[in-house]
Symmetry: C2
Subunit: 460 residues, 2 copies
């Protein structure tokens, strides 16, 4: 769970002003720059006004977070008060997270699913508020239905991949669901699509299509990316733990460096972010990842892919660790050797877990690119003039506010694993081969045999 | 190529009035229903007006199609004139299409790619026009860049799957591109994403995010679905030919039945569509599909998956046809037997190609569900008050106007094939197995051998 604190201390108090000011500034600007448009729209009745975002209402779209500050904290200045509230909630989230790791991969999958639901709800609710869609026929139901379809499809695909054997042997009545999974998912989706078309009503066309798009972009961001993360969990907990905790570390360190050394503003979208925080966080995250990989690599619980053990009838994480988690001797690059020489260290090789090197790559992405996910979310919030995505987590805002950077990281982790780490799953491949028709099977077998003999793995 | 004619004869003349009327009606309605909004927006300057669709401008967003009618046709009534123009263009398109089938799968892939580009262009241009984004920094470039990334990713995946061996053997310098395809695609996309975030400008936030969503939904509709179709082409031309021609047949028959018998309006979204056309088209399409499957099934050119022949150094479509294309004796269901009995036909079995039964399933979807793709497109055009997506095809409108139903069908075909027809590709599976590490390979080999012996395919 993400406990990002960032360097935006007294945001609760400050930001509200920020936004009001932004509204005022922009209003003035528009008047200056585009008098023609204003004139044009004054003589034609603004017929689409009530179905399109009219964000200059004084009433905020999403009611601002109600901070119920405990008595003890009331004497403190807001910056510190907020710091303490966020701190306490961060600790609660981290504790809950550790509990779930202890439970294992299925607990994590459930957690990701819950977070995904919460994020979807927050983004969709903004859409409803912005496009004033209270009286739209069916739409609320339809967008949740699409969420259901997307989840059915993605979680089904994962279940099929990883627990296919379980379904095949012990839950045979589920076999048709597995065999025709895509067909069923597609049918479900198409039903929703047709329902959408049938629900179209002349006076709402524009807003209905807008929200259709809104729902699908949300699904694309939230559902597909959490699904990518779920797949990574089954590849070994270490990947999941490393990458999510890197983002948390990066956020906290950016906050701390920004808090103490922050001078130079980084990007207009997030005015509280500084170059000092960004750079400090980069180095901290790289160090953190390198060390964390070292500490986690020796444990099978973290490095082994989840497997359903047919004898024990439960998911196990026991295996012969792959070479990625075995100490290996590396040559130190000449440049680094020269630098070490300056400190009197004369060593030409170093023993590392290969995963430590992968951790460096992940950390680089986590601290240099992932923040763009956060900037994107900030820009989105500013576009729709909202402060936070929600108010579920006191001091933190909505769930989506905590996970904005995690989504981009989840995709990266998935792509990284499938490009550099993941080898095909032998059991799954065998299963696929055995579904070929007899002739093809025999053909594959003979070619396979020939290959093995040629490579000396098998005697002729 | 889709030559749908539908039953909307004199559309050029009629529809323009339709839309003007729609505008007037809606304007009146809005005034009646929502006086509050109008009042509210009159005392607050409408600051977001120039970045949000103001569709009541008298000037159409997309200039209406310029019909340059040849002299010979000028004497005819518009209904017939339009009929002839559309007819001629339909013949041109069908002829071009046949030419491309003769060229083979690669020609078809190129054609789909071109159509996809045209559709993307049309939809994106509507977005630009609607949200008046002429002065948006970078956006035009960025959306085309995203299109490029999506295509690079999808076409790369297909190429890898079907021509992996070719790359492996003869084009070795492309091997890294194949090995790290996902990583490269993701990197390209992320660069675009970061560029988008950096291009955000305060006064354009809202429209920038809207167009970001617009681009992604367009990619989802156009690129992913054409990619699904491309994959189907390699499974055997017959699937592609059957399913695309069914849509064309369904459109033409709906037009003809509607033209002669149309009385009852089908759906408000497309006022020219009738129940009579819909039902007549359903039966015609089912018959057409059943017959067409019968005629195409005996030819290897149509039924064999495309394979790169390493000796001939070209793509071939020779194979031992799978059981789907071999005449099989079926029992006739009791009910149908009873009906046949009434006509004096006493037969309990029938010889069919199994694909003919699949063709019935596809035809049912093509005539009952695919039209919803067309309704969706109609609704979309009405939402944004445009007549057609473009004016490339005289008498037909834009490319997207011809392909609206094909996209849904493409997805269905893909899902249908992967659920009921496609068996794993033996060559691809072997390739994956050979990428395992030696221990795993040996392990898979031994288990495979055991299985084959148990099933009597191999002697112990």
């Amino acid at each position: 769970m993400d406990t990002e604190l960032r360097h935006r201390g007294g945001e609760t108090a400050d930001n509200a002003e920020d936004i009001t000011q932004a509204v005022t500034t922009e209003t003035t600007k528009e008047d200056d720059v585009a008098p023609k448009t204003t004139a044009a729209s004054s003589h034609i009745p603004p017929q689409v006004d009530d179905i399109l975002p009219n964000l200059d209402d004084k009433k905020p779209l999403i009611p601002p977070q109600q901070d119920t500050v405990p008595e003890v904290l009331k004497g403190l200045p807001p910056r510190w008060r907020n710091w303490i509230i966020r701190g306490i909630w961060s600790i609660i989230m981290v504790a809950g997270f550790l509990l779930i790791i202890w439970i294992g991969p299925l607990g994590l999958v459930a957690l990701i699913m819950l977070i995904q639901l919460a994020c979807f709800r927050e983004i969709i609710n903004i859409g409803y508020a912005v496009y004033k869609s209270q009286d739209l026929p069916w739409f609320r139901t339809l967008s949740w239905y699409f969420l259901l379809c997307a989840n059915y499809f993605f979680y089904g695909e994962s279940t099929k991949d990883y627990f296919g054997i379980l379904v095949h042997k012990d839950l045979e009545f589920l076999q048709p669901l597995a065999d025709y999974h895509r067909f069923i998912s597609f049918t479900l989706y198409v039903l929703g699509f047709c329902a959408f078309v049938l629900s179209l009503v002349k006076q709402h066309y524009l807003v209905q299509f807008t929200l259709f798009g809104w729902t699908h972009v949300t699904l694309l961001i939230v559902v597909t990316q959490s699904h990518l993360l779920v797949q990574c969990i089954f590849e070994g907990l270490i990947w999941f733990l490393l990458s999510t905790s890197m983002i948390i570390c990066n956020d906290i360190m950016a906050y701390i460096f920004g808090f103490f050394f922050g001078r130079t503003s980084l990007i207009k979208l997030s005015p509280k972010k500084t170059w000092e925080g960004f750079i400090g966080a980069f180095f901290s995250t790289v160090l953190y990842a390198f060390a964390m990989a070292y500490f986690l690599a020796p444990y099978q619980h973290f490095v082994c892919p989840a497997n359903y053990d047919d004898d024990l009838k439960r998911i196990t994480m026991d295996c012969e660790p792959s070479s990625t988690f075995i100490m290996t001797e590396y040559n130190i690059p000449v440049i680094i050797r020269a630098i070490l020489g300056l400190f009197g260290i004369h060593q030409s090789t170093i023993w590392l877990y290969p995963i430590q090197i992968h951790a460096l790559a992940l950390a680089t992405f986590a601290s240099l690119v992932s923040p763009f996910g956060g900037f994107f979310a900030s820009g989105f919030k500013r576009a729709f003039k909202i402060k936070d995505f929600g108010d579920v987590l006191p001091g933190h805002g909505g769930i989506m506010d905590r996970f904005d950077c995690q989504y981009l990281m989840a995709s990266f982790l998935h792509v990284y694993l499938s490009s550099f780490i993941r080898t095909a799953n032998p059991a799954k491949l065998l299963q696929q081969v055995l579904q070929l028709n007899p002739d093809q099977q025999l053909n594959v077998f003979l070619q396979f045999q020939e290959h093995l003999i040629k490579n000396g793995l098998l005697k002729a």
